[in-house]
Structures are given as C-alpha cells and as structure tokens.
C-alpha cells in the first residue's frame, strides 16, 4: 500500500524555520513507523534525523508524535494507524535540535532531581534484603519506565510550565517511595510537594495514554499526592 508521511523538518544549518515535507512510499501494513523512517533516510533523504536503537520498544530512543499523539516509532505499525496519511513530528515541550531530535537534557535533569536511586544506609544482610511479593507489587508498575519522555512531553501542564517535574520524574519518585527497602521516601515527598511537583498534575491522563510501557502514570501520581496529603506511605 502507498502511504504519505508528512514529516516535521528543521535543520539548523540550512533552515531559518521549521517546515513540513511529504514523502510518498510503499509500505506493508505490518511495517513499523520506524521502518518507514529508516527507508526514507536510507533511500530518499539522508539528512532526515531521528534517534533509534532497539527497535522494539524497550530502549526509549524514538519517542515522536505520530498523528498528534506521542508514541515510540518502533512500537506503532502502519496497520495500527488506520489511515494512509501519517503526520510525524518531534515531541512537544523540548527544544528541537534537528528534525525529530529534541534536547533531552531538561527531561533528565528533572529525573535526577527526585533522587532516583535506592537510599538505605543500614548495613545490608549477607544475602538479599527480604521483600514479599506484595511489597514488590506495590511499586512494580513504575519500575517498567524506560525514560522515553512520551508521558512528560504529552502533558499540557508541562507544555505551559517547563519547570514542572513532569510525569516521568514523578514515576521515578514513586518507584522508590513505595519500595519497602528505601529510606528516603519522606525527602522525595518533600520534593514532590514543591510548587513544581505533583500538584501541577491536573489528571488529564495524556501521560497514561502515551506510555508505551502501559504504566498507570496518572494513578502513580495520585498515589504520590495521597502520600503527601496523608503523610503516610502505604
């Protein structure tokens, strides 16, 4: 089948401002959108620039906007789109550096700010720390995050305020706050209680829809809000 890709283009070396370019190509219904981008880059326009690596939805490199919603290019098949006109744009809220490549640094900065690592200064046992399956289940969902930024860059609150920590950083905080082995939950809750923390979330659910790992992002944010409100982590 023939599909038309309308792709956001911006090359800082040659373009004064961004524009869109159309490519008509043959595609199989089972092709990934990433396969189409690879084809265009390989045969039609070598300057088309985007990030990618694993090509099956676990590395988080290729978050882009496909027909107006955030997706990983390697996790959407042509047949999933239900149309032959495909609009491809960089994610919103981060500076475009070239074509579909955005500046990820502010995103990782927000991530680093929530202490995204286990804190526990008690001497560990000789073997593993014990944790029941129930305790593990409490934060299992948020351990799936691949830091692709689909959620954060789909969030209208983030679009209007780039200082907002954003869903991905809150997901990272959640992953440690509810880990029975961690001891810095109170500190992370203080960070999340900041003006740029969880209360910027207006439960719009874009993040949950955008997550390629099917993390219940809005629910995780709600759990962090509740822990702040009650002062209890349970």
């Amino acid at each position: 089948m023939e599909v038309t890709l309308k792709i956001f283009r911006y090359n800082p070396e040659t373009d004064r401002k961004p524009h869109y370019e159309k490519f008509k190509i043959e595609a199989e219904p089972t092709d990934r959108v990433l396969d189409l981008l690879e084809y265009i880059k390989g045969y039609l326009d070598g300057t088309l620039s985007f990030r990618r690596s694993c090509a099956h939805g676990v590395c988080g490199s290729d978050a882009i906007r496909i027909n107006g919603v955030n997706r990983l290019a390697c996790k959407v098949l042509v047949q999933d789109l239900g149309r032959k006109k495909i609009t491809i744009e960089p994610v919103l809220g981060l500076l475009v550096l070239k074509d579909l490549i955005v500046d990820m640094e502010p995103f990782f900065e927000s991530f680093r700010a929530v202490m995204p690592y286990l804190v526990n200064d008690e001497p560990p046992p000789k073997r593993e720390r014990l944790q029941s399956s129930e305790q593990h289940a409490r934060f299992d969902d948020t351990t799936k995050c691949i830091l692709c930024a689909c959620c954060t860059t789909s969030c209208p609150s983030y679009w209007v305020n780039e200082n907002y920590a954003g869903p991905a950083a809150i997901v990272a905080a959640h992953r440690f706050i509810f880990d029975s082995r961690d001891r810095a939950g109170a500190e992370r809750l203080r960070i999340m209680n900041d003006a740029m923390g969880v209360y910027r979330c207006h439960t719009i659910f874009n993040c949950t829809d955008a997550c390629p790992r099917e993390i219940q992002v809005t629910r995780a944010i709600g759990e962090v809000k509740k822990a702040i409100a009650t002062g209890k982590i349970d």
Binding site: F50, H56, V58, M104, T143, L147
Partner: protein, 597 residues
Amino acid sequence: MNNYHQFDIIVIGAGGAGLMAALYASRGASTAVLSKLYPTRSHTGAAQGGVGAALGNQGEDHPEWHTFDTVKGSDYLGDQDAIEFMCNEAVETVYELEHMGLPFSRTSEGRIAQRPFGGHTNNITGQPVPRACYSADRTGHMILQTLYQQCIKNSVTFFDEYHVIDLLLVNGVAAGVVTLDLATGELHVFHAKAVIFATGGHGRVWEVTSNAYAYTGDGVAITLRRGIPAEDMEFFQFHPTGIYKLGILITEGVRGEGGVLINDEGERFMNTYAPTVKDLASRDIVSRAMFLEMQEGRGINGKGYMYLDMRPEVVNKYAVEDGRKRPDGSPYVVTGEELLSKLPDIVDFARTYLGVDPVTQPMPVQPTAHYAMGGIPTDMYGQVVIDEKNTVMPGLYAAGEVACVSVHGANRLGTNSLLDILVFGKYSGLKAVEYSNEVAFQELPEDAADFARQQLENLRSSQGSENALDIAQEMKSVMNDYVGVFRTEEGMAQALDKVRQLQQRFKNVQLGDRGVIFNTELLSVWELGNLLDLSEVTALAALKRKESRGAHAREDYPKRDDENWMKHSLAWIKDGKVELGYKPVVITKYEPKERVY
C-alpha cells in the same frame, strides 16, 4: 588542542558492563563514561530472562554446578579458570545488585526468584535447575536502570551521544580516545591513563537479529584498526526464539516457565534432540534442531519458522509428561494469569508485532542472531591481551559482549551475559584504578585526532554512487545465508568473497547528509564499515576452523575435533589483510567430553 579532556579512566559504552566499570572506577580515580547513546538506551536493557547465579533459592544449587554447566555449554572452548571465577563471583554480585535496589521478582519467602534456563542443570540428576535470577522478563532493563541510578547517586561523569571513533596508543600503551560529539559534529580528544571498552556486540552483521541498531561492533573494529586482535570471531550465537522475520527476542524464560517448541505436526521435537532437558538444551543445540526440523519439512506450513507454545494447557500437558514439580514437591501447574505476570513484556511484543496473544495462541519463531562469543581478547580481570602468549596491553581493558575472556567459549548459556557484564565490568573498573594510580599520562601527539578525522572525511567527501543501505542489506543477507546456524566450505567462501566486494563498493558510498549537526547518517555509514570488517573476520575465521563446535556448525565437518581445534582463534588486520593465529584453551578441572543434554 581544542575539545581536549583529561581523565584517569575513560569508559566507552554505558550498558551494564560500562556502568559497572564506571561505578568501581569512579571510586578510585577520575572517570568519564562516553556513550553513543543516552545510557538508558543501551542494549543491556533488552535482556529479558535473568542473570545466572547459584543462589539456591528455589532448589539445591552450587557455583561448581554453574561452572561445569558453563564449561559444557561452551563446548569446552571456554577458559575454565575464568569461568570458575565468574560463577563463584556470581552469587555475591547478584546480592550486590539487590542491595543497590534492583527490584527482583520474589519467592514466597521474599527471596530473589529464580527460574530454569537452557543448559543450567543439577549436576547429579541432569535435570534443569532454577538458576536465573529474574525481574519478570525485563531483568536487563532493571540491571541497566539500577546501575544508571547508582551512577547518578555517585555523580559519575557522562558524555552522552559522544561516538568513539578511534583509540589512541602511545609507546605501546593506551593513552586515550577520539570521539565525535553527535550534537555539534566536532571531534573531541579524551586523554586517559586507562581506557575500558564496553561497547557491546555486532549482531547487525546478520539479517535476522535480536540486536539493536547500535550493535555495530565499534569496539572490535576500532581496536582491530589499531593492531589489536579479535578472538573467536567465528562463534556467534543464534538464539532459537526470535519473532519470525523481525528477530525480536522472545526469552528462553518462556521455556523455563514450561513453554515448548512445536513443529508443523503439532509435536514437541526437542525430546528427540535432547532427551533429558528437552526444550531447555543450550541455544546452539536448539537452533540446530529447529533448522533440521525445517529441513525435513516440519517447519510450520513448510516455512522457516516453528511455534513457541506457552498456552497454559500446553505447558501443563508437557509438565505432566516431564514429571515437573514445584520446589515444594507439588505438581507444576500454571494459569494464564501467572504466565502473564511472569512474562508481561514478551506477551506485549507478541501482541504488538505479531497480533498474537501467547496465552491463547502459539508464537511463530525462528533462530535470530543474538550474541558475540568472540571479541577483544582479555584475561579474567578485563585486561586486554594482544597475542598468542596473552601479553597484556597496559592501560587497555574490555568488558561485556565486546570482550572475549573467554567465559562463553563456542556457545554462551542464557543468563551468563548479564553475569559477565557485571563481574567483568566490576573487575575491569578495579584493575583500571589500580593501574592508573601507578602510572603517569602518556604524552599525546599533536595530530591525535587525525586518523578519526580522516575516516570521517573520507566518508563525507566521497563522490561515489553506492547506497549504504543496499550494501548493508547484501552483507546481512549473505552472512545470514552462509555464515549462520549451519555452514559449509563453499558457502563461507562465497560469503567472504561477497563481503570483500562490498568492502570495495563501500569506498564509493554516497552520503546524503554533509552537515555537521546530528549527522546520524555519517555515523551509520561509519558503523557499516565496522560491520563489514567484522563480517570479513568472522567469515574467514569460520572458514578456517574445520570442525563443528558450539555455535560453529559445519555440514562438511560435523564433529568436534579436540585434537586439532581445541584452541582460540585470533584475527589481526595487517595492511588491510586478515591474518589468523591461535592460542590454547585453559583447562583446569574438566576434561573435554561429548556434550549430551
């Protein structure tokens, strides 16, 4: 010198091996990690089923059993001192990761959960033993995330999207690297006392692969260009269960949880090829069995794939047939819900890419190029050794898939790669600290960046008309057909010839992007040059090895030949030509025997 940086230790690559090395290195010396990807994009994150360690949480187990299984799995080409070291270190290393916060799945006692994997056995009964410590089916993801988190906690310095192009050697020792900053297109020189390569593998040589786009063998290609040999390149693992045509990995953990391979007659077939452990034989054996079934016309619908079946009713049926029990002695019975909770990602992959729900339908799978047993030769502390006598090159280290210690020999067991990156990442970091604290910086020449610049300029200024994607496709296709699961003299010679033609055509490759900012095309094409070099070395080393051992299976030499071929190959590129040498295998306790599973 513009864009000049100085650190005691440079780590190249930010997957499991690189991050583990960086954690240990940064505790004792100034350290920077250079990675062509953002660290969390590294391919360690794609590993699924588990990391091997004889914790014995779900049945009796011992590091000695793990050692023997690994030696046997390697088809006796692994160095036994290094294997024993790795398997002994495994237990403590897994606990260390747990203490760092790795969210392992748990047993009912709250301990790290373990599942059976191919080739891991109880050495008394020969039956599969649960040795793979897992976090659902995203163990690699959790290792990568946990190590990256620890690096943030410890303020490790990263240069993300810095693509290493060249290694600097001065007076016969490592002195730094030259990298391209993807964002600006500028070259940067990193001056160092010690350099640790942790750049991963090169599965992108083959058409059907589980490997990421980034897996282009940069580390081996760069060191080959600097006169350092590559070891055992003829041994490349084909994982039995890649998604048909796409190659995306479906973990061996599926079979660990009771899934079985099924042929077109609706029958399990692994019982014929490996009567004791059946579907949990090691990967080389299972991949060959699938090919043989297909050759006999028992591929599904006569085509090049088999079914991997994990429907609960099928799992339970064969569990009864095998007499499989839970650790508490009760019969092994699973529900769809349980399988979904243990293997959520592969269920998602099957639904996304195949439109198949593995809880109710079998998955079409075929062998997929998966793992490089060969690589940069090292000793068991990550120190690079550069000849038949294992002479150490001072200041140079390699760890993880890019390295060949050799702990995997001719065939790696599942779960041993995640173990390898942790153990040898750690020790290369420790050794690099020890070394860099004792030596001074070598003086770099003024033109340190020239060789890197020249390589990239040649590509950028080429006026030819060859298309890089066409060359890549032809390389992948010929390597898949002739240097794949089964090999013959004629086929490999043909592949070698073809690859050499492609190397000539590569000189006339045409770039569409001549800019500097994020010129990802330039780097992809440079990576293709690496893949072509590694294809040539692989095909030649394979052609010369006239026996079958582990992943190297020849139709014309179907038997292992310990008398003539119990040795590691070493390949050098000298004046553009590949030269081969050999060095002995280290044997300590285990005399070579025929492998039966």
